[in-house]
Symmetry: C2
Subunit: 376 residues, 2 copies
């Protein structure tokens, strides 16, 4: 937690639950990545935290933006981003949303299927398109699936078809999985991309760009290697697989850009036991799985937790949210310990919650208002 | 799907995704349950569908309301419910929300722990309180947990303590799990409640009420027995365990009251394959796990799906939502088949989605607007 957030929470009685975002941390993360990857263009993955103040600040620093929907395109353009700094990175787009983006000046689009290519040819003629290839990498803490991407052979055919349809076959993208701690996965993926550059060159297509997606981890409970290690890994892999002909690089950080910039202030609503023999306390907070902590699904993301009583004796707890939903449990299998002295009404801070929290929050589940955010 | 919804969707170009709720179905469900359980008071579980029009209509029919939060209390009072028809049924309440409810006239509260009882004694003096006991029943399709309730021995002690604190120890509640298809589970639970009545009578406390919670199933893909069977099962169990001294009965239907009253109209955004060998198509809809279909978590609730091309040849599909989140898949392990002729842009109806959809919807995930609802 930053001194700025600590001071803010000390000086302001925020109504809980509330996410406090330190914009300085994001700015520093942006500058660090820019310095470590001078050859890459940074497209901030807006979905990680779409607070207008975050977008405006990154826009001021020169960031580009990876957007998932018409709503996100409106957001970034509204905060001053020029359309040449916007990528419509979702491979699943309505035809009318492609047309809308194109009309607004967006010229860079992702795809991974023939049907999407046909929509793009019709509604975004001449646009630069990149094909996402399928990755099945281990090591990511947020579940991977086959939802995005296609097999390299299909991608090759589709990029040829893109040219035939009057689009500009621009590059290859992949994603090694969110909260990916295994640096080696980028090497595998970049190697696959390089092989595709060669395969496609045989069809006289000169691809220009590799989009290495997101996936760099944020620091939760477990230690991670510093961002330098991931950036080094990426650049080494680029040199290894592309030699002196390194193409344009796009990176789409989300979690690693904003995750550690936020702290959720929450309150203990209840502490109880279920029977006299039970050894664990149940601690119920005023935020849960449906109020912004959706990434605790299957206990995937394990947030660090701080209380004002830290330092004394601790005991194991089960952590749960405030709704009447029996699935609204944060951590039951994962061991969490909290101070024995913890009391109902105490404030609890959930750390590194700047990414994938507010926008995941349910609109009104159980009558609870969605998670608020303050950017400082 | 009702004729009224069918007509509405035929006559109106609704912007998808959209939930259409047929209020007549809910009214009919209410009247049926009222007729089948004349001894029970129906407290509609507002969290299942908090649309003001639903609450207003049920209020007009004389329903009472089970509420989970201050927000839901404001909602039902705002729609005209008198406070004597409101139960604050969440066992996890902030002290100030208890005080708020009490000030508004609410006098019936749930609890399952000593800490909660102390809050109630302080902020809701003299109120009727009921203790939720722990149930570990099988057969529910939505995951059960130990989040709510306490062991019967603890419940007995707590009800005695409630009296000592100046509260009115009023009854016992339980919940056998949502979408519970096993009628026998109510027999087990009611038997446990009856045993507690006897145990507590020894402390000269005359409990007056059994709250049998919710859990009656809605009809999704699998067939279920009619509501008559569940009501019969409940009343038989009451007679078996309480004989001629049947106490007040409260029932808190949510899913079984509104589930079959709603249809989500959605649109096919993309149909694709991942590689040439794949035998299943991926069908991407404009609604997913974060846009209102949260109950597809772990493929728990299996909705019925209808298209305008039903009747012809079908083939297996994987169904997914429109966001960039790899976890946003509706059904991958569960076999779903859709028409071979299905096309991008086609409308798809997700049936029996009147419960636990709109209010679960994420506020703005990936820049997509939350699920809208129309009550007709």
């Amino acid at each position: 937690m930053t001194a700025k957030i600590e001071r803010y929470l000390a000086e302001n009685q925020v109504e809980t639950p509330c996410l406090v975002v330190d914009l300085d941390v994001i700015a520093e993360n942006y500058r660090t990545m820019n310095r470590l990857l001078p050859l890459a263009r940074i497209f901030y993955a807006v979905k990680a935290n779409p607070e207008p103040a975050v977008v405006a600040m990154l826009n001021g620093l020169g960031s580009s933006f990876d957007t998932a929907s018409r709503g996100e395109i409106d957001l970034v353009l509204g905060q001053g981003a020029s359309p040449d700094r916007v990528s419509f990175g979702n491979t699943i787009k309505k035809q009318r949303d492609i047309a809308y983006a194109y009309e607004k000046g967006v010229r860079l689009f992702a795809f991974d299927s023939e049907a999407e290519l046909e929509k793009l040819a019709e509604s975004a003629p001449g646009a630069k398109v990149f094909c996402r290839i399928l990755m099945e990498c281990g090591g990511a803490e947020w579940p991977l699936s086959r939802k995005f991407g296609c097999a390299p052979e299909m991608a090759t055919d589709l990029l040829v078809r893109a040219r035939d349809l009057g689009l500009e076959p621009y590059g290859i993208s992949f994603h090694v999985g969110s909260q990916q701690t295994d640096i080696g996965q980028w090497d595998v993926a970049i190697g696959r991309a390089a092989a595709m550059f060669s395969a496609i060159a045989k069809a006289n297509i000169d691809l220009k760009m590799v989009n290495i997606g997101g996936g760099f981890p944020a620091k939760y409970r477990a230690n991670i290697r510093p961002v330098e290690a991931y950036c080094d890994g990426v650049m080494s892999a680029m040199q290894k697989h592309f030699g002196n002909a390194i193409p344009e690089i796009i990176i789409e950080p989300g979690r690693s850009m904003v995750g550690d910039a936020g702290v959720i202030q929450t309150e203990v609503v209840l502490i109880s036991k279920k029977d006299y023999e039970e050894d664990k306390r149940w601690v119920y907070l005023d935020i849960g799985k449906f109020g912004g902590l959706a990434e605790t699904m299957d206990e995937a993301i394990k947030y660090d937790i701080a209380t004002d009583r830290d330092g004394g004796e601790t005991a194991p707890v089960i952590l749960a949210g405030p709704t009447c939903d029996s699935a609204d449990i944060l951590y039951e299998k994962t061991e969490y310990r909290l101070p024995v002295e913890l009391k109902v009404g105490d404030k609890v801070k959930i750390l590194a919650t700047g990414a994938y929290t507010t926008s995941y929050s349910a609109v009104n589940f159980n009558g609870f208002a969605p998670l608020k955010a303050v950017c400082i």
